[in-house]
Amino acid sequence: MVFREKGCAGCHAVLGEGGKLGPDLSRTLSTGNPLELAAAMWSHAPQMWQRMQQENFQLPTFTTEEMEVMFAFLAMVRSFDEPGNAEAGREVFQSKGCAECHAIRGQGGRVGPDLAAVASLRNPVAWVAAMWNHAPGMFRALREKGREFPRFQGAEMVDLQSYIRLRAGGLAQDRSYLLPASADQGAALFQTKQCVRCHGVGGRGGTIGPDLSSVVLPRRYGEIAAFMWNHAPQMNRQAAAESIPYPRLEAQELANILAYLNSLSMRWVGNPVTGATTFATKGCAGCHAITPGEKSPGPNLTALKQELTPVSMAAIMWNHGPRMLQRMESSSIPWPVFNSRELADTITFLERLRRRSSQTPPSTSSRGTP
């Protein structure tokens, strides 16, 4: 709603729907981490403002809450899978040898179930959950047939799903979806399903498998699910060796676990010492005082009332930025561009200063580490 009401959709599409003046915000390289979004917004802002002026768009302002909601929206849509390509899916179905075991509407193999029966599953995560639970049987059948375990890359899983729906015809009309995933529930499942016995997170947990907080996962749910699927044989072997029962996952459970894993990439850490340097080298100190009581052309940043986070920073920058830009241009000062690392450090640095000056105890919701 915020994305539409503020007019962002007039320039930016998501998943192909919306304006074409700016990039499609679900298809850029960012993972959706708020730091990356804030840095991209910051660096890109002068171009945006100029274009909006040219197009006679009114410049919106954001409260921190509105910016938070919009960031959550952008993070969410980046995790959505795009609709699959049925033609590509046909290729996948043939090249992976699926038809040897599986029929679609009676045409194909009879070893495994007819895939038209699962054509109603709309979410690739649900597909992977069905496949995951089915995997032990598949391992046996593949061994017997001397076939290699099929692995999926990129959007292959989604394309395959699309092809099967196309072939299933009317049987795909009964659509079933998943509820939006919960990272909190996923964190709990990560424990109860004993994933943590093999995979640590942030150094806590098993070491048989990689620490999942340091693995770069794909950002789309379907691709993460396929990533997990590809590891199923290895995981199965390791689990057996450790006497860990093969975990069966309901589709919604898998979605929640993936949401939890996805959320790991949303964490960030900043270095206040480096942040201080960045603050100086970017020229911020030329306009903004950071000693309590000191006057400066721009606001004294220790006097800020609200906690500094990537979201609040983005809101402040957006609302304040046009005036900043105008004054900078009149003084021939170039607009400073930040990457996410630099922004993280700067925010951490400034937040520490702010807290010291206000002697406000640290918020438990803060993601930054001073």
Binding site: E17, V77, D81, L166, G169, A172, L178, L179
Partner: protein
């Protein structure tokens, strides 16, 4: 009234919510309104806004009703209702004239014969009067002597009534045809029925919002086709430049209808040649290799010559069209220049999102199967069957309760079947909003209805059904009861609408749904057991609980909500806006309904539930049906030209009457104001019934070309005789500039025949010669040869 803001637009402008003045002044209309309202025209009191669902036709648009001091003073569209998103047609605007009509029937009544005076009775007496008779018939195993005819569209009331009849004795409910039946049948034969785990009913659906190029074969798009509020809104969007693209509409037809003159191009053609025109376009697509090769090659059968399992060779659609429907031949048949067919065909096939509609698809003239097969073949040639911007059949789940058995009796739109039941001496006839019958039945058939001993009407106005009734069970107007709606005709999405009553019922009127539930209780305990709900809210709540448990769809919201919901569902997620059945019920009522904004247009269908699993140019089901009907058991018994009957083809429409005796062809049509019958009693609708200037008084008319008028010495507004082989009637003549010579347009409907504003006149049905489809054996047309001369 905020007269300063009112913008009276003519119907010919295709506008929603306009009123054409004709010869009536604003002051006159104002006085008319005051005359209709029993109290003062000024209503002191609190202003409120409430929501309802229109039932002036089967479209069921969402309404926003302004009330002051408890009286409804204005009706507009509900912006949150997905079907119409704030727009309404003039019929909804006239709704208040129904609510406050001085000829409202406000209490149940009874009389021994139609020519006897009415006696007001209580509801208990009224229900018992009917229940006693139904009980007796059931006990004597004569349930088939109950005949119920309805004019309502699909919805909970129809479902409940149909269910009641099914349980009572396996009787079908006869209902007003939607007009889509023939096209639906054609698509079923060629593409198969939709399969779902629930089985049951299905309906035709078009994704016109995403259509780029629309070939319209005779449908009155702007005069009530499909769902008027939805179609009119779509028409506006097609021309909305902010969309970035404009949808082209080409209208094929023989009359300069409102839809024809507002299209991007009107292609005049001979009456009854839609199939030929479609096959002429197919000829170009095939000859110039413009058809969708991928779809035809991978998803169709019967395109090329083929041999069946018995070894018999069949001509393929490709060769059939190229040999039989060359442009010169089609041009001769249809009167359409070859160049026009070529140009239109090339435009049609120039990109995705092309769709062909038709033929006709009006309730009284659903069109012929052969024409419909040809038009669906066009859709297949461009790959639009089951694709975005195209057409398909979708499951029609409707309301979950009362539950419909997969093998249960479905409502029947067949007039012919209904007439055949009249031969079995029914004892009870129930006419539920069935004034449409008087547009389609002649005096002889209406007399058969009048001879039935007990005729029950649910009409809330004095109309043609009340004149023949002996028992009146007056329904409320839509604003006085829980209003429910469901996916209307041709709408692509699944939808259920629900609103609470806006007003208290006037007088003693009661919703027909409540009466049905009471009748179930009063007739037989076995029937009562199947309908356990004590009243309508209880039934609605039970329905809501079932819908809440389905785990899909959303409650109504703004268009921005819709866009987000589609994004979610496209990626496989469903973000419900309720957490419990209680919450769902609460919001279902207050937000006005539930729907699923993601349907088949999101993904193309390329697998069909036909015997071949493909779209069949040569329908194997039709082949089987005709063989069974002809008693043909072996391929050797098939006549040499057998394939001609199965493949899409043109067949002559008019019966063999001497064209020299009757020189003109009369083509009836249904203006928006009377589409689907009924509503003649509303003054607003009478005033705007003529799109070519207001009528002089409330009279029906016929339209003829300048040439035909001049040839007969007829001038505009002259009274004329319209004579067919069956007889003659009087009508006022309208001379239309640009109309095709040889074709006479005649609107159905007309002035009220009962009540204080009755204007008796001959019914058009007296001279029409109904034409039945030879395969479907239902009425397809009422096109009739006539002569016209001055009175």
């Amino acid at each position: 009234m905020r007269l300063a803001r009112r913008d009276f637009l003519s119907l010919a402008g295709g506008a929603i919510g306009g009123v054409a003045l004709g010869n009536v002044t604003l002051r006159g209309l104002s006085r008319l309104n005051e005359a209709l309202a029993p109290e003062s025209a000024l209503y002191p009191g609190e202003e409120k806004i409430a929501y309802s669902i229109c039932s002036m036709c089967s479209g069921g648009c969402g309404l926003r009703v302004r009330t002051v001091g408890g009286k409804a003073v204005k009706v507009d569209g509900n912006p949150s209702y997905p079907v119409n998103r704030g727009g309404v047609c003039p019929r909804a605007q006239a709704l208040l004239q129904w609510v406050y009509h001085p000829d409202r029937v406000l209490s149940p009544r009874r009389r021994s014969k139609p020519d006897q005076p009415w006696e007001t009775i209580s509801w208990e007496e009224a229900v018992n009067t009917l229940a006693v008779t139904l009980r007796r018939l059931r006990a004597a195993d004569q349930q088939n002597r109950l005949l119920v005819i309805s004019g309502r569209g699909s919805g909970l009331v129809t479902q409940l009534c149909s269910s009641f009849l099914s349980v009572y004795g396996g009787n079908p409910l006869f209902c007003l045809p939607s007009g889509m039946e023939t096209t639906q049948q054609a698509l079923e034969l060629m593409a198969g029925r939709p399969e779902t785990s629930e089985g049951g009913a299905y309906r035709l659906a078009y994704d016109l919002e995403n259509s780029r190029y629309v070939l319209n074969f005779g449908c009155d798009l702007l005069e009530g086709w499909g769902t008027p509020g939805h179609t009119l809104r779509l028409f506006g969007r097609w021309r909305d430049s902010s969309r970035g693209r404009r949808t082209t509409l080409i209208h094929f037809g023989s009359r300069p209808s409102v839809s024809a003159v507002r299209a991007d191009e009107w292609v005049p053609m001979e009456v009854g040649t839609y199939g030929a025109a479609a096959l002429g376009i197919a000829f170009v697509l095939i000859s110039e290799d413009l058809y969708n090769r991928e779809f035809v090659a991978n998803s169709t059968s019967g395109f090329e010559d083929w041999t069946d399992a018995a070894g018999r060779q069949h001509i393929g659609f490709r060769r059939w069209v190229r040999e039989e429907y060359r442009l010169s031949v089609v041009s001769e048949m249809t009167g359409i220049p070859s160049e026009t067919l070529v140009r239109v065909a090339r435009e049609f096939a120039s990109g995705p999102g092309a769709v062909a509609l038709g033929p006709r698809q009006s309730p009284t003239q659903p069109g012929r199967l052969s024409d419909a097969l040809a038009i669906q073949a066009l859709n297949a040639l461009v790959g639009s069957v089951g694709a975005k911007g195209g057409v398909t059949l979708v499951p029609d789940r409707g309301w979950p309760l009362p539950a419909q058995d997969a093998g249960g009796i479905q409502p029947s739109p067949s007039l012919e079947k209904m007439l055949s039941l009249l031969e079995q001496s029914p004892e009870v006839l129930v006419l539920d909003e069935a004034a449409w019958l008087f547009d389609v039945l002649d005096t002889a058939h209406l007399d058969m209805l009048r001879r039935i001993p007990m005729v029950v009407t649910t009409s809330s106005l004095e109309d043609a059904t009340t004149s023949m009734a002996t028992l009146a069970l007056p329904d409320c107007s839509p604003l006085e009861k829980w209003a429910e709606g469901q996916s209307p005709s041709v709408y692509p999405y699944e939808l259920l609408g629900l609103t609470e009553p806006v007003l208290s019922p006037r007088g003693e009127s009661r919703p027909w749904t409540e009466i049905l539930l009471a009748l179930a209780q009063a007739t037989d305990p076995a029937i009562a057991a199947k309908f356990p709900w004590k009243d309508l809210p209880a039934l609605l709540r039970a329905n809501a609980d079932q819908v809440a448990s389905r785990q899909n769809g959303y409650l109504f919201g703004a268009e921005v909500d819709e866009q987000w919901q589609r994004l979610l569902e496209r990626s496989g997620w469903w973000g419900p806006d309720w957490n419990s059945a209680e919450q769902f019920w609460e919001q279902f009522r207050t937000k006005g309904g539930w729907w699923d904004p993601v349907g088949w247009p999101a993904e193309p269908q390329r697998s069909f539930s036909t015997p071949s699993g493909r779209f069949e140019f040569y329908s194997l089901k039709l082949d089987e049906l005709l063989r069974a009907r002809g008693g043909i058991r072996a391929a050797s018994q098939l006549p040499p030209d057998w394939d001609r009957q199965i493949l899409p083809h043109h067949a002559a429409l008019l019966p063999p009457t001497d064209p020299k005796q009757f020189e003109l062809v009369l083509e009836p049509y249904e203006p928006l104001t009377f589409f689907g019958g009924g509503m003649r009693e509303l003054p607003f609708l009478q005033q705007i019934s003529g799109p070519y200037g207001g009528p002089k008084g409330w009279q029906s008319w016929i339209e003829l070309s300048e040439e035909d008028a001049r040839h007969r010495g007829i001038q505009g507004e002259d009274m004329v005789w319209v004579e067919s082989a069956r007889g003659r009637i009087r009508r006022r003549a309208r001379v239309l500039e640009g109309a095709m010579p040889g074709v006479v347009g005649a609107p159905l409907g007309g002035p009220p025949q009962e009540g204080r504003w009755a204007v008796p006149e001959d019914s058009l049905a007296e001279i029409l010669v109904p034409i039945s489809d030879p395969v479907l054996e239902v009425r397809s047309h009422t096109v009739t040869r006539v002569n016209i001369y001055k009175v």
